[in-house]
Structures are given as structure tokens and as C-alpha cells.
Symmetry: C2
Subunit: 482 residues, 2 copies
């Protein structure tokens, strides 16, 4: 990157907020996704929306790429830089601007940590349900960019269900405001929901208005153990068929149970084929009734043990079994590839069985856990990226896993996004007209491809109504070849 | 329209499904919005998705407009034809294809009547919450195109919260499939939510996958009367502040109460300043507790009378007071203009007061009722479109009402859409960058402007990177001047 461009960036945000040392560039060259990394030319820390706008205008003038970044906990390579790029670091924007107890909304800056927001609103008897696995580190801005899910998705939905409004800067530098405190609003196209989950490719969020709900009065946490995944799967189906919607309905397979026990020493039976973590919440009478029904359902489906937390402390301990699954699995081998193949909930048992079969076929270790209630599984390959042969087999295994998920009417990503990691799978899920629709939105909003280019799909500017065919053509029309 | 084009349409759908008589053309020249009408050249009734695709391809070749239509109950002129257009009638597509009791979804054709879907799913103990005022006539396709709301919006959200997937035909004839039965899905841009509420300008829906929830076990319906709107408003705020989320929380002002009593003879006190219809649902214990709390809150806020329905029949009778508001008001004068200015719920009392003040200022009758719980008001002007002077005053009054709603952080339309009726207000709510974002989506998907052109904003194709300035330019670049 030209020294002149660095100088102009320093003029916009101030000299101390443009980091160009190799240490800083390396620190921001990767996120939580294994195998992807690329050095940015600088890390730039803006302080206000006008600076963000100016930086994007400069990027369009000078032809460099801007990679917006929160805490970098993403699992699809969504904030990995590209050549000739800057990382735009938003995690200093940590202000909760307003909690409106009359309209039940919170206006926050994008760098607010998700778990911190939970704490603040719960002090007021309110509740912000989305709880992605990374919530103690991840930012609301990142959650919105990825439409993050979490354990409470089954009953409460995901991040997009709680975003009421967004102030954002478009790729060409314009500032827009969409949505607001209105429960109902149908004025014009729903731009808000196209920005949510756009993985930093369509806009940089500068303010986010969130919906809150009253905190459930009571909750009960339970842990059920089964000899087989099949029995656990039947229990899940039966809970839903009985019209109970637990806040949380999670499972761990035997591989994951063993790793968790080894890591956290919770006293889990390491011979169990599967574990279900179940939490119900709401009115105390309803919670009591549902918990009793769930215990019966688990017993009918041959649970080998069933624990109910009697105190908040015990509930936390039970939840630790699930919350530590990723960390526990990650200790076994140097490289942990956590995926999020998702299927309609009725297909969970079939999908879980297929994953076991595929792991066996390719001779690799795949721990499996996830959100049984909403069909969102986390098959996790434990491998070593230096072992090229095994990595090849891991890749082939996931190809088969995603193919099977799509065959069941599932999706290649329930929570993590496409980013760089899943670009090649996108055409498996959508026909070309659908992908072309997505590309058109990107190209018309970001004609020079400056904002997080190459994520979701390769950025190729449209020239004379068609897509360019070669690197030369792409560069001629202002695109970026990645 | 050229006879040759009519002939080609007949080849696609069959001769009997192309209606060209003047009676048919008149019947489809308007919807439920006063003052807007325009004759289509033909009414075409397709039978399958391939025919819809062929018709749109023909429209692009021959340069005519296609106006998709369900039951025509819209209140913003969204299905009013334009010159050189056909109405594409979708209300014969009435099949409920599947109700999946494991995944809690319903796959329907777009012409299914909303209330009919309610009945079918409730037979299975399931629940489809969106209940727009027009639900006994309106279609699911129309509901999705307008993102229809309803009385249960406060607790359960609106149509978009229940649409999981869509099969649709794009303006250029391609068939796409977005969404599915997965509770979590973040693959690519969220195209589904851009199509929802796009008012028939971006796609024609041919299949819709809806989310269902378990039917609430119990419910209780209450009616509270107050001397003033102010007292009723305070009661509403207090209910929400006590963390109660009623399924329904509706109000009627004195003008509306009088009209309803005159129409339906329910024994309402015609001197009451305001009425609240409140319904709570959920677990029986919670319902009981919340109903008791609500009665106390109403009494503290000086309710003059409070009725609780003891039977389903009584509940229906209480609900009739609210459900018949529009019909009752419509009897008073020949022209009824029902609007949907919406504000954050905390601003409802201020907004209601302002509407009364504006009605007085312009010497017109405005009955007011609506969804107090979610801020979605229905100020309804009773007038006569032949009285040009009064119509002018009605227009000025609504200009002021919308200005004030926006000033309070509200929206010009909570439920009805922009269509033709509210185009001029759109720039009041959004800056030009935001409207340009919307226009770009339309223009890139529908370069010739064949699909419901002129709704939401005038369709002007972009030529050489800018908007055309004159009718001549617009027509030169394939646009339509309306």
C-alpha cells in the first residue's frame, strides 16, 4: 500500500490509530478459522461514523479493500484480509447508548460484547436471548454481520429476530438508517434484514438497535444421558411433538462427552452414547409442568440417568458440559475444524448417524455436538493441518457431510456464515439465478468491490452486463482477483 | 395491448384463462384503496410456476407490465394496474400442500386464505399467529407481499416472522428457492426477507413455507373502558412496564366506539372516551395471573368498566367490538381512508392526541383505533371523494399526521405498505442514500421495470449510471412513466 494512502488514513483517524507494524499486521491476519490467513497493509481504528464514511470513500478512490472486524471470533474466515487491504477495527465502539425500558429496546455501538449486554439488560429484568458460543468475547456488530445463533435459538430465534434498526455506512461511503423502534414497519424494502448476515460485505454497522423482551420468571436446567444417539434423538422428537419448546435443547455425542469430562471433570458418565442438555423457562407453573413432562419423555426413551439442577449454581455446572464442548475437543489435536451443517430438526438422528459413518469411512475423528432442537449440528474434526493426507480426508468428509445435509433440505451453514471457508459449497445449495441475485446486490452497492471482497463469493464486477472471464478483465473493470 | 401479445398469453395459460372483457378489466382495475384505479389490458390466470415464468419472460420481450394480485384487499393501491399491463391473478392457488407436525411448518400456495390456514393448523393443535384485519378474505401470498400485521403482532410478530421459505419467479422469469425448514440458516444473503414486503415489485411467490407454533393452551379476553384516551394510554404503558406481553392490546376512540355500537349493538357505553381490548394467552396459570394484574392496572388507571369473557362465545363478542371497527366507520360517509401511521409504543398517547388536534384543525372526522400495544394506529378519515375541498383538507391532515409520526421516530406505514398511496411520503422517512439502495435492488433485478412498476417509487431505469430526467429518456431506456 502506498505511503500516501497510509498518510491519508492517518489524516482521517489520527496517527496513533493507524497501525502498520508487522506485529500488528500479523495479529490481524487471521480469525478463529483454521488454515486461513493473509496480512493486511494496516489496521485502522475509526472513532466515529464520519471517519468510517471517509475511509470508504478513500478506498473507492484509491482502490484498496476494507475488512471490518470486531473480536475476530468468526468461524468461516469472514474477517481474513486480502492483498492490498486494511482491517477496520470496530471493537473499541463499546458503548451501550440507551436501554429504553418503555419500548424494550437497547441502542448499542457495534463493539459491545454480547455477554456484557446480557448482564446490563438482565439487571433491569429484561432479556436479550441470542447467546452464540463466543458470547463472552464476540461483539454485537459481529453477531449482526454473521446473524449469529446460539443455544437459545429453538425458542427465541437468532440475532436477526432481535435487530430492530441499524445505522450503517455503505461501501461507497453513504450513511443510512434503517428500521427503528416500531414493532411494525413496512415502509419500502426491508434493507435491514439484507444487511443482517451480510458478513461485512454490504455495510459497516455503526449503531444497532436491539429488541429486548421481559426476562423469563423462572427456568429449569436438566441433563439426560442415553446409551445411543438414536434414543436421544427420539426423546428430542417427542418433546417437540408434545408441544414443548425448550429454551435450550442441546446434545453431545460420546466423543465429545469423553473430551469434556477429561477437560472439566464434571462427573459425566464417559460411557454414555449421548447427553441432552435441556432448559425450559417461562412462568413457574409452566416450567414445573414442562420439566416433569420432559423427565417422563426421557425415561420412556430409555435415558440412563436424568439430573435436574436445584440451584442456579447447579444449573451453571450442567450448562458447562455443553459450553465447554468446543474448548474440550480443541485440546485433543492441533487443528480443530468446527462446522455447522444444519438440517430440519426431524432429520437430526439421520444426519448424526451419517456423520459417524462418514468419519469412519475416512478414518478421522469427528466429535459431534450441537443444537438438537433446531437441527443445527456442530460436527468437529480433530486433526492437524500439517498432516496433508489427513487434511485431504477431512475435506472429503465435510464435502460428503454438506452434500447429505442439502439432500435432507438442510443448509451448509446454520450459524457461521460462508466467508472464505464455504464459498465452494454455495452452488450446491442454490441455483445460479439465486446466487446471481446475491451477486447483483453486492455489485450494485459496491461496484469497485472495496468492502470485504471475496467473502461469500469471489468479487467480479459486472462489465457490459456480463461477468468478466479473466483476471485481466476483472482488474480492468476495477475488481479484485483473490 | 397488441392482439399478438394476448394470443401469446393464451398460448401460455390456455384461452379461457385470459380475460379481456371490459367487465373483467373493470373488476380488476382497483383494490381496497379509495381513489386509485386504472384498467388492465387483460386478466391472466396461470396454473403453475412455469407459466408464471413464461409470462414474465414475454413481458420483458414485449414490454408490458405484470401486476400480481391475490384477493385485492390491499390498502395502499399495491395491485392497481398501470397502462399497458396485465393483472396476474393468483387467488386460484389455494392448496395447503403440507403441514409438517414434526418440524412445525406449513407449505402453502400463495392463494390460500389466511383464516382458512388458521383453521386447518388449529385442528392439529398448532398456531399461525398473523391475523390481519382482512384475514377472512386475504391470501397468504398477499400477506407476504405486504408483510401484513394484525392484532397479535405485539406478542407474536408479523408475517415476516413466520415465513421460512419462498419459491418465487423473478421479474426476468428465473425461478428461485430461498429459505427452508431450517430454524437456522445463514448461507448467503437473506434474499427471503427482501422479498417479504416487496409489494409484488421484486418477485411473484408460487410457494410459501410458513413456521407454525404450538397453540397456546389457554387465553382470556378482556374489555376495559376509560373516560379518556390518556387514561387508556397510561394503562397500556403500565401493562408493558409490568413485563406483561398480551397477545392483543387494542384501542378504540370515542368516535369509533359510537360507530361500532350503532353498527353491531354490543351494548358498549357510547360515552366512553376509549376502550381497550386485551387478550392474554399461554399457560393457564400465567393467563390467570396476568389477567388479574391487568384488571388491577386498568382500575389504578381509572377504568370506568372492566369485562372479562367467561366463555369462548363471550370472548368472540368482545373481539367483535374491535374487529368491526373498520366496517362500522365505513358506513358513516361514502369514502373511508384508513391509514396506519405507527410510532414507538411509548409515543401512542402523544400521537393519538395530535391526531385529534389535526382533525379539529382541518374540520374533518377522523375515527381512531388500532394496535395500542405495538404503536400501530389506524386513524381513519370519513369523507367523500366527490367533495374536492374536504378531500384536500383530508390530504393536508394526513401530511401532518405522517410528519408527526416520523418526528416521534415512527413510520408512515406499519402494515399497509407504500404502494401508490404513500410514495410521496417515502423521502420524509428515508434519506436519499437509503431510497437509492432500494431503487438499485429494483433496477438490477427488473431492468425493464415489468413487475408492478411504479409502486413504492416511480420506476426509472438507470441509464449510463444516472437516473433519467424526462419522460422521453425514461421511455428510451425501456422504463415506464406513470
Amino acid at each position: 500500500m502506498d505511503a500516501k494512502v497510509i498518510h491519508r488514513l492517518e489524516e482521517i483517524v489520527g496517527r496513533k490509530d493507524v497501525l502498520t507494524s508487522i506485529e500488528n499486521r500479523i495479529a490481524y491476519s487471521y480469525d478463529a478459522t483454521p488454515t486461513f490467513s493473509s496480512l493486511p497493509d494496516a489496521v485502522v481504528i475509526p472513532s466515529n461514523v464520519e471517519q468510517v464514511s471517509e475511509i470508504l470513500k478513500l478506498a473507492n478512490e484509491e482502490g484498496f479493500a476494507v475488512i471490518p472486524r470486531g473480536s475476530g471470533t468468526g468461524l468461516s474466515g469472514g474477517v481474513v484480509p486480502v492483498p492490498n487491504s486494511i482491517v477496520l477495527l470496530m471493537n473499541r465502539w463499546r458503548k451501550i447508548i440507551e436501554i429504553d425500558t418503555e419500548n424494550l429496546t437497547a441502542l448499542v455501538e457495534p463493539g459491545v460484547i454480547t455477554a456484557q449486554l446480557h448482564q446490563e439488560v438482565e439487571k433491569l429484568g429484561l432479556f436479550y436471548p441470542p447467546d452464540p458460543g463466543s458470547m463472552t468475547i464476540s461483539t454485537i456488530g459481529g453477531n449482526v454481520a454473521e446473524n449469529a445463533g446460539g443455544l437459545r435459538g429453538l425458542k427465541y430465534g437468532v440475532t436477526k429476530n432481535y435487530v430492530l434498526g441499524i445505522e450503517a455506512v455503505l461501501p461507497t461511503g453513504e450513511i443510512i438508517n434503517v428500521g427503528g423502534k416500531n414493532v411494525k414497519d413496512v415502509a419500502g424494502y426491508n434493507l435491514k434484514d439484507v444487511l443482517i448476515g451480510s458478513e461485512g460485505t454490504l455495510a459497516i454497522f455503526t449503531k444497532i438497535l436491539l429488541k429486548l423482551i421481559p426476562k423469563p420468571q423462572a427456568s429449569k436446567t436438566m441433563l439426560a444421558f442415553f446409551n445411543s444417539i438414536k434414543d436421544a434423538g427420539k426423546a428430542v422428537s417427542s418433546i417437540i411433538a408434545n408441544h414443548i419448546t425448550p429454551a435450550t435443547l442441546e446434545f453431545l455425542d460420546n466423543t465429545t462427552i469423553k473430551c469434556v469430562e477429561d477437560y472439566a471433570h464434571l462427573g459425566l458418565p464417559t460411557e454414555a452414547g449421548a447427553l441432552l442438555l435441556i432448559e425450559v423457562d417461562g412462568h413457574p407453573a409452566q416450567v414445573q409442568e414442562e420439566a416433569e413432562k420432559i423427565e417422563k419423555i426421557c425415561k420412556v426413551n430409555r435415558s440412563t440417568d436424568f439430573k435436574v439442577a436445584m440451584t442456579e449454581g447447579e444449573a451453571l455446572k450442567l450448562k458447562t458440559a455443553r459450553r465447554s464442548a468446543f474448548a474440550a475437543l480443541a485440546r485433543i489435536k492441533p487443528t480443530t475444524i468446527l462446522e455447522d451443517a444444519t438440517v430440519p430438526r426431524s432429520c437430526v438422528p439421520e444426519m448424526v448417524e451419517k456423520i459417524q459413518e462418514i468419519a469412519k469411512k475416512y478414518g478421522i475423528i469427528i466429535g459431534n455436538f450441537g443444537h438438537a432442537g433446531d437441527g443445527n449440528l456442530h460436527p468437529t474434526a480433530l486433526t492437524d493441518e500439517r498432516d496433508k493426507d489427513e487434511m485431504k480426508r477431512v475435506e472429503m468428509a465435510f464435502d460428503e457431510i454438506f452434500d447429505f445435509a442439502i439432500k435432507l433440505g438442510g443448509t451448509i451453514t446454520g450459524e457461521h456464515g460462508i466467508g472464505l471457508a464455504k464459498k465452494k459449497f454455495l452452488p450446491k445449495q442454490f441455483n445460479s439465478a439465486t446466487i446471481d441475485f446475491m451477486r447483483k446486490i453486492k455489485e450494485v452497492l459496491d461496484p469497485k468491490g472495496v468492502l470485504n471482497p471475496g467473502k461469500i463469493f469471489d468479487f467480479k464486477p459486472r462489465c457490459e452486463g456480463r461477468l468478466p472471464n479473466s483476471r485481466e478483465e476483472i482488474e480492468k473493470f476495477g475488481g479484485l482477483w483473490i
